[in-house]
């Protein structure tokens, strides 16, 4: 399984990348290579040009800016994993990273690569959805910003058009009092999730849910932010019953079948994972409230 021949380009600056993208036909961007290289080795993808982004230092950064965190598209998953900023400001993402692939894949894999491949159940895609990600897409025409909710265009397909590349992602950081949880079900450790569910939950002084976010992955082509379920939880004191109700609602969300997993099973897992994520997030939120 060897890749086809291609012309290799290794630009150092973003404007070079943009230039190459605007002039070359049948070109692919090489980020961490953990997804692209297998496809090239299998000859599922046969690009004429390969643009290696690994030397474009400007795309590799992690920055906290008030309520937001900006991450360059070429920031390695490993960098996210060991970042003290991440630990302090966004520990839920660290929890999610625990499920992402393996040591070797995280050493090379990138934030942007995961988002551009957009595997339906990818943990970093789920996180971006939960944290209301804003994606900056660069091209010869300049930069445009897309909301994560609009980014997906179908199975493994994003808005990124010819001549464009994802350069940075801005995440809305959780509130200091947000309890959090990331849960998923996969066949084996490190496998792609079948269904994943993340949640941020904050309680007010009366112990009522004053804010809750849920991102559910694996049911369709993109993670779902079930706004109705989120809204129905507001104002309630966390209890088993309300989580069961929310789980039941999650179970109703339509899903897809494939050769390995049925839609019904995915929906069932959505129910279980939603229940578990909400329960854990609530417990975590309660602990934060107690500490306060």
């Amino acid at each position: 399984m060897k890749p086809v021949s291609f012309k290799y380009h290794d630009p150092r600056h973003l404007d070079e990348v943009v230039d190459l993208l605007s002039t070359l036909e049948n070109a692919k961007l090489l980020a961490g290579g953990q997804t692209l290289m297998p496809m090239m080795n299998f000859r599922y993808l046969m690009p004429d040009h390969l643009i290696d982004l690994n030397k474009v230092e400007a795309l590799d950064f992690l920055q906290v800016d008030g309520d937001y965190m900006s991450i360059g598209a070429m920031t390695r998953q490993r960098t996210l994993e060991f970042s003290s900023d991440m630990a302090r400001h966004c520990p839920i993402l660290l929890q999610a990273l625990h499920f992402v692939g393996h040591r070797q894949t995280r050493n090379r894999g990138t934030m942007g690569g995961s988002l551009c491949h957009f595997d339906p159940a990818a943990e970093l895609v789920n996180m971006t959805a939960l944290l209301d990600g804003k994606l900056q897409i660069d091209s010869k025409k300049g930069a445009r910003e897309v909301s994560i909710a609009d980014f997906n265009q179908g199975f493994l397909t994003t808005q990124i058009a010819e001549g464009e590349l994802l350069s940075r992602i801005r995440l809305t950081l959780p509130h200091a009092l947000d309890g959090f949880a990331f849960v998923e079900f996969a066949r084996r450790h490190g496998d792609f999730a079948i269904v994943a569910c993340s949640s941020l939950m904050r309680l007010n002084a009366k112990g009522e849910i004053e804010s809750v976010k849920i991102a559910l992955s694996g049911l369709g082509a993109a993670p779902i932010r079930p706004h109705t379920i989120e809204a129905n939880l507001l104002g309630h004191v966390p209890s088993n019953n309300i989580f069961i109700e929310a789980a039941h609602a999650a179970n109703q969300i339509e899903s897809v079948s494939d050769a390995y997993v049925s839609a019904v099973y995915r929906q069932h897992l959505a129910r279980i994972m939603t229940y578990r994520a909400l329960s854990q997030a609530a417990k975590c939120a309660q602990e934060k409230l107690n500490v306060r």
């Binding site: 399984m1 060897k2 890749p3 086809v4 021949s5 297998p38 299998f42 000859r43 079900f185 066949r187 084996r188 450790h189 490190g190 496998d191 792609f192 088993n240 069961i244 109700e245 789980a247 039941h248 050769a259 390995y260 997993v261 049925s262 019904v264 099973y265 069932h268 897992l269 129910r271 279980i272 229940y275």
Partner: protein, 781 residues
């Protein structure tokens, strides 16, 4: 005879090289001017080839040749690959050609062989070979293939039956007429592929001056590969040398002769240089032999005391497109069913079906896991139906140790009656249950249920034919430089032969294993051989090494005594010397003796002794010798997700005397991993056009480190009476009862919900489906 080394867990001699990255696997071999092959393969499971145009492929710079069927030499074109294990039950023999002529019968069947400067270019060109196909109907599922023969795997057949046979002992039908209790069930069993980490491969080179080939193959039996190629190319013995280098796993399917080996040989002769082909992982999924589907419709008749009266049924087996191994796998399945139980009436009708999929040949366990599954699930059903303890049901039916040797009444694949030579089945089960704290399980299970957790315990017993004949030879030789070497046709793929066989020789020669080199799998160095598979090497090669080394020791003593002017009884062998017992200062080294033994030109051999310190022995076992084991599995099922976590895995295992206990333990643990894979993870998914869907390690799930529980082992040792070492085989015992024990435990965990499991593998989704509403658990409204 010295007994210092056999039985000792010495460290492996193989390890330092492997640990330093100095192993020499097939792809590590570089030869000057070597070219590389890649294949154009059928994308269809069943298709007629109308035309092939290789011109574009030929035009790629760096391509040296593109071979099609019509380009093969006459002798190769006119013959199919050989049928290695013929049997009268085979109704219609279908075998492949080295390249597809007109009809491709499985996805991946090779159509063109491209040879180029490197593999990258060869793959570029292979993509450019243009083939015009007419897609044909496929025989996809083996049961459909039997029950409706509208879709035939082969155009020239009107049905899909490759073979059919019956095992018949006693009078089953009469017994069923009057049986108080009959349990019937259908089991569907799917096993997958071997998935060794090192893919297959071969390098052929041709010496024009000698008109002879050398073939390096990552295989499990060089002599068998040689025999196939001799016939296919019509060569004489001296025209072909086959060598197995270090082999990275085999598990059965590396023992077969594959079409690619013929192609590289053809190419090497035509092009005048060495040609290498390495299977890539995608090809491995498509074209390496595997085990696959079996449908068992069986009935068990028992009395109210749970005594088995009879067993009957039908087994439908998926053979794949061709039948190179005859009916080995289904035959082994059928004859393994009775296991350790007294079953005086047993009838099984077996159908081996052609399908448009890659051939089924033995994969670790070789059809036995499926037989054990059927038998052990039936035993569990008896326990459930009669409200009895599953261990007690089994106890009541065991063949007792005093009944050994026990003739089961059926013929095994070695042509001999299945006769268990030795083994204590009740003791084995008792040992396993004790170690697993079986008696404490009910309490553990109850306590877990209070906490909303579901524990289950399952067990399975297996009896396993090992040490399969006809032989595996060994030559033990002391060179004129005093070096001790063992040559054998056995080919290790991880089984530690280079250490264990050195241990056997060391005892006979009172030497240190570190001073004994074991050379395996080279047809130029030992004349006859079969190979390493079917848990046979310790018995056959081990015994041959023992006999040959013992004979060489006698020769050494005879020569040494002659040189010391005394009688052989007055000397001993010690650490590379023959020593006079009464005066140890008087000694002769192996080197000196070896030199003396080869004689000097013009001088007669002294004392009428035969020349050389060399003996070749081919131990031919009279029949298989039977290992046995009991597995007890304790696990937890998460009823919400259907996931299974094995908490405690206990094995009691009897494989007779152990040459190296550490090695045996390693074989058992490794075998259990395969069993866990087959029970819970591994599934080759095909679509309804027999197109493989699972073609990568992301979709085909092998057990990971996180899937392995700790294993608690009890060793029993009833020596085999059938070979001088008293050993039995150990390579497959970890796998054979594992699947049954695991599934039994899962079902036990879900017994509050009346779940019945009659297929394997079982996925979390399957369990959630079987649980229905109960899977909602804590999320129930």
């Amino acid at each position: 005879m010295n007994k210092k080394w056999v039985g000792a867990s010495i460290k492996r001699k193989e390890d330092p090289a492997f640990l330093k990255g100095e192993g020499q696997y097939l792809d590590d071999i570089h030869m000057l001017g070597m070219l590389h092959a890649a294949f154009t393969r059928s994308p269809h499971a069943h298709a007629k080839i109308l035309s092939i145009d290789k011109s574009k492929a030929m035009a790629v710079p760096g391509v040296k040749a593109v071979f099609l069927y019509r380009d093969l030499p006459d002798i190769v074109r006119q013959q199919t690959l050989p049928l290695l294990v013929p049997h009268p039950s085979i109704i219609k023999t279908k075998l492949p050609y080295a390249l597809v002529n007109e009809e491709a019968c499985y996805v991946g069947e090779p159509i063109a062989c491209v040879v180029a400067e490197n593999r990258y270019i060869a793959e570029d060109a292979a993509q450019l070979v243009e083939v015009e196909y007419v897609v044909l109907d496929v025989a996809n599922d083996c049961l459909d293939a039997l029950e409706s023969s509208t879709h035939c795997a082969h155009l020239d057949m009107s049905n899909n039956i490759a073979a059919k046979f019956q095992i018949n002992v006693g009078d089953t039908d009469a017994v069923f007429k009057t049986a108080p209790q009959v349990i019937s069930e259908r089991f569907f069993q799917h096993r997958g592929g071997p998935f060794f980490m090192e893919c297959r491969g071969a390098i052929a080179s041709y010496d024009k001056g000698a008109d002879a080939y050398t073939l390096h193959v990552s295989s499990q039996g060089s002599h068998r590969i040689k025999r196939c190629m001799l016939e296919l190319f019509d060569l004489s013995d001296d025209q072909l040398r086959v060598v197995a280098p270090d082999v990275g796993g085999g598990f059965g399917p590396k023992g077969s002769y594959y079409p690619e080996y013929a192609n590289v040989a053809v190419a090497a002769k035509v092009l005048g240089c060495a040609v290498k082909w390495i299977e890539d992982r995608r090809e491995n999924f498509l074209t390496t032999h595997q085990e696959r589907d079996q449908y068992w419709d069986v009935e068990l008749a028992v009395n109210q005391d749970a005594k088995i009266l009879g067993l009957r049924g039908r087994l439908v087996h998926d053979n794949g497109a061709y039948v190179p191994w005859g009916i080995v796998v289904p035959w082994i399945s059928a004859t393994t069913v009775p296991g350790p139980y007294v079953i005086e009436n047993f009838k099984l009708d077996v159908f081996s079906m052609y399908t448009n999929k890659i051939q089924v040949t033995s994969v670790r366990g070789a059809g036995r896991p499926q037989a054990v599954f059927a038998m052990e699930r039936l035993m569990d059903r008896v326990a459930q139906t009669l409200g009895m303890d599953p261990a007690e049901v089994r106890r009541r039916n065991f063949i007792q140790p005093e009944q050994m040797p026990y003739n089961v009444g059926i013929i095994f694949r070695d042509g001999r009656p299945v006769t268990y030579d030795s083994g204590d089945y009740p003791a084995c089960q008792a040992a396993a249950l004790a170690r697993a704290d079986y008696l404490g399980f009910k309490a553990r299970q109850a306590k877990a249920r209070e906490a909303g957790k579901y524990l289950g315990l399952g067990m399975a017993n297996a009896v396993e034919a090992t040490g399969l004949g006809p032989y595996e030879g060994a030559t033990v030789k002391i060179s004129t430089t005093g070096k001790i070497t063992v040559y054998t046709g056995a080919v290790p793929q991880g089984q530690s032969h280079k250490t264990t066989l050195a241990q056997v020789a060391a005892d006979a020669l009172n030497a240190d294993p570190k001073d004994i080199q074991v050379i395996t799998g080279d047809t130029a160095l030992i004349g006859l051989g079969i190979g390493t598979f079917a848990a046979r090497t310790a018995v056959t090669a081990g015994s041959s090494v023992h006999l040959a080394a013992t004979d060489v020791a006698q020769k050494i003593k005879a020569y040494g005594a002659a040189m010391l002017s005394c009688a052989p009884e007055q000397v001993s062998i010690n650490d590379g010397y023959v020593v006079l017992n009464s005066d140890p200062q008087q000694k002769k080294s192996f080197r000196e003796i070896a030199v003396r033994s080869v004689g000097m030109p013009g001088f007669s051999m002294a004392n009428g002794l035969a020349p050389g310190l060399e003996t070749t022995s081919y131990f031919t076992p009279d029949r298989s010798t039977y290992s046995n084991g009991t597995h007890v599995v304790e696990l937890e099922v998460d009823i919400h997700t259907g996931s299974v976590e094995i908490l405690r895995y206990t094995v009691a295992h009897d494989c007779g005397k152990l040459i190296n206990p550490m090695v045996v333990d390693g074989q058992i643990v490794g075998g259990i991993a395969h069993g866990i894979g087959n029970a819970l993870l591994e599934q080759m998914v095909f679509d309804d056009q027999a197109q493989p869907v699972s073609t990568n390690f992301g979709e085909y799930l092998l057990p990971l480190s996180t899937n392995m529980p700790k294993v608690d082992m009890v060793h029993l040792e009833t020596p085999s009476p059938l070979n001088p070492l008293g050993v039995k085989g150990a390579g497959e015992g970890g796998t054979i009862p594992a699947i049954a024990a695991i599934i039994s435990a899962v079902e036990n965990a879900l017994s509050p919900f009346d779940v019945r499991i009659s297929h394997t593998p079982i996925s979390p989704q399957d369990l959630v489906e079987l649980l229905g509403e109960h899977a909602l658990g804590e999320t129930t409204l």
